[in-house]
Symmetry: C2
Subunit: 385 residues, 2 copies
């Protein structure tokens, strides 16, 4: 397999983008990535999107977006793995370049979630759970993650305040990110008194409904070095795994087996261990998710995730900065775009272009993107050359 | 890139499978393919499905199916390109094996279309067109293909009876296929007097609403020769292209540019020309589609597609047999499964296992699978070794 690098990145401000269609958001970010890479053509494209069918009544999405970007007849592939659709698009783009089939590949993630009402958005998201065994019985994602939180609190003594600390940290980081949907700080007190959603999770424990996209250009590493003067960022590790889609089928509701397996594969491929990672972007769809994820990634021992934000370990400036972009919590959660936006952030950081939120001396970054209650996970490791 | 072969195939009878869920249909065919290949594990899986989100309220589909097949934590990827989703899954499985990332890959296509009413099914399918510029104005696929038919009749003198001959041929072929949804013959008279859908297309010009799946096992060619005593079937050509998703954006409504481009790429990769193909499975979602497709594939000159079924050229026993399986018309049209089922049929034929519908001496087969009104197309060429 050929070495693969990220040569271009693009992202625009996330939020409730009433004035833009899905195709507009997509094209904006794709053009930014193409411009950043300085390439004059594209060989193929991948787009991660969870459910444009339900959100905007549009399938056949990759063809539509190739059309609107004006790059037909190039091959265009849409991939779906719920909220891990973006990470999956990154993996497929990686394989396409690594195999030698394509040289310059456009990888995007996009979701337009605000064209439907809140109840319909909740329904759309619930299709990432097992519809027949979870959805039809009334459980939605806040409820599933609330059960994971309760189980973690029961097994490991994780506290309600520790959950809040994750939101406080990520909102602080998001306040430094001009593209974040909610670029403001929140306090522990505000989280603890915010509207209850599913006990013990309150509204400030939950990531929002967001419109947004992000885009990358991938190419062979040697080509990246020739085409661009920016530091070459190589994808050194790729991990992808699945778990039972239904939470009730798992032996332990606090363990994310797909994240553990995907991380093991990515660490092995990259020849790295958790301590080698300088910063990580992880899937904090709910505050409890970040806690379980950093355990599964091996950043902290099992059961100790709750103390990480509280102790400052995962803070910007801490030993293991997590979600310096603001994470899903503050940056926003356009579900299909997350895995691509994580690579956008890592590339900014590894190039030293992250401005106020720059992690000094960052050379190795990890992105973890998961679908549903952890039924699928992608882990990528990036290193600046 | 490594050489890739089809080592296992699986398919069950298509139709209105009221008693089975999507996951049941999927697992049945996947187990048949695994059994046919004789492999004891899977490294990764791909599933093509157009819109399980709208049809059965289920996204995160690949994880669910990996779960139900009992093969978690293996990587699982769902791809979508409307009715070309199955062909796209074949391509992605091909790249995964060719790149060296995976050895044994399960590739499936599936759609469960009858859990919703006819109006909802029509809506679901319409999401393969440009929703904002075609769907919202009331056009659905029979209408789009009717316009293509009218344009072809106007430009090339194609007749109403010539359209009917495609249906007659494919129903005759389907009558020999025990897995077909409609395994019976129809006459020209029956087609011409069947219910009008969108002038000039009548109900017997249209492929049906179908539940169904098909599955393949792909692996490196040298591994296939070691693992299986069955004739090795190599994927020698892969082509993939896009066109404008909206019909009104094209210069010529009778030309399928994505099919032309995908075919050119596949012929070039395989070192073949149209005359080298012994049989083809093509995307006859409507009778006019087969006529336009065989022109785009170069089997007949532009404008001469209408005469092919009438003259017997594309009949079983003709010089260029097309859709000996019965095609979408008689075999059925579970949209996400088509591209995989085409490879199932070609593999049966190239192995000499096709029974009553065997094409004698078949050594090179071509599959053409397209999405929407031709906005995306996959072409694969297979050769028995």
């Amino acid at each position: 397999m050929r070495d693969v690098a990220v040569i271009g990145i693009g992202m625009t401000k996330w939020g409730e983008l009433w004035e833009k269609a899905l195709r507009d958001i997509y094209v904006e970010t794709a053009l930014l990535a193409i411009d950043d890479a300085g390439v004059d053509h594209i060989d193929s494209m991948y787009v991660g999107c969870m459910t444009s069918g339900i959100f905007v009544g549009q399938e056949h999405l990759a063809s539509q977006l190739a059309d609107y970007l004006g790059i037909c007849p190039i091959p265009a592939c849409r991939v779906e793995s719920a909220c891990a659709s973006g990470g999956l698009a990154v993996k497929m783009g990686f394989i396409d370049v690594a195999s030698g089939l394509s040289d310059i590949v456009l990888v995007s993630g996009v979701e337009k979630m605000t064209d439907v009402g809140g109840d319909q958005a909740t329904y759309a998201l619930s299709t990432a759970a097992d519809q027949e065994y979870e959805g039809y019985h009334g459980i939605t994602f806040p409820g599933l993650y609330a059960m994971m939180a309760r189980a973690h609190m029961h097994a490991y003594g994780t506290t309600r305040e520790q959950l809040a600390r994750v939101a406080v940290k990520n909102h602080h980081n998001g306040s430094l990110n001009p593209l974040a949907q909610y670029p403001f700080e929140v306090t522990v007190e505000e989280v603890l008194t915010s509207t209850m959603v599913a006990e013990p999770l309150r509204i400030l424990d939950c990531s929002p409904i967001t419109d947004g996209a992000a885009a990358l250009i991938l190419c062979p590493l040697d080509m990246a070095k020739k085409l661009s003067k920016k530091p070459a960022v190589k994808i050194t590790g790729v991990g992808h795994a699945t778990d039972t889609i239904a939470l009730h089928s798992r032996e332990d509701m606090t363990s994310l087996m797909a994240t553990e397996k995907a991380a093991q594969a990515a660490y092995k491929m990259a020849g790295k261990k958790p301590a080698d990672i300088d910063l990580a972007e992880v899937h904090d769809c709910f505050t409890i998710a970040e806690i379980c994820v950093i355990e599964a990634l091996g950043f902290v021992p099992k059961g100790k995730g709750g103390t990480a934000a509280e102790s400052g370990l995962t803070a910007h400036g801490g030993k293991m900065p997590v979600n310096v972009s603001g994470g899903l919590k503050a940056k926003g959660h356009p579900v299909g775009a997350i895995g691509v936006a994580q690579i956008y952030e890592l590339t900014k950081q590894l190039r030293g272009e992250a401005g106020k939120r720059q992690v000094e001396g960052a050379r190795v970054g990890l992105a973890q993107n998961m679908g549903g209650s952890g039924g699928s996970t992608l882990v990528h490791i990036l290193e600046v050359q």
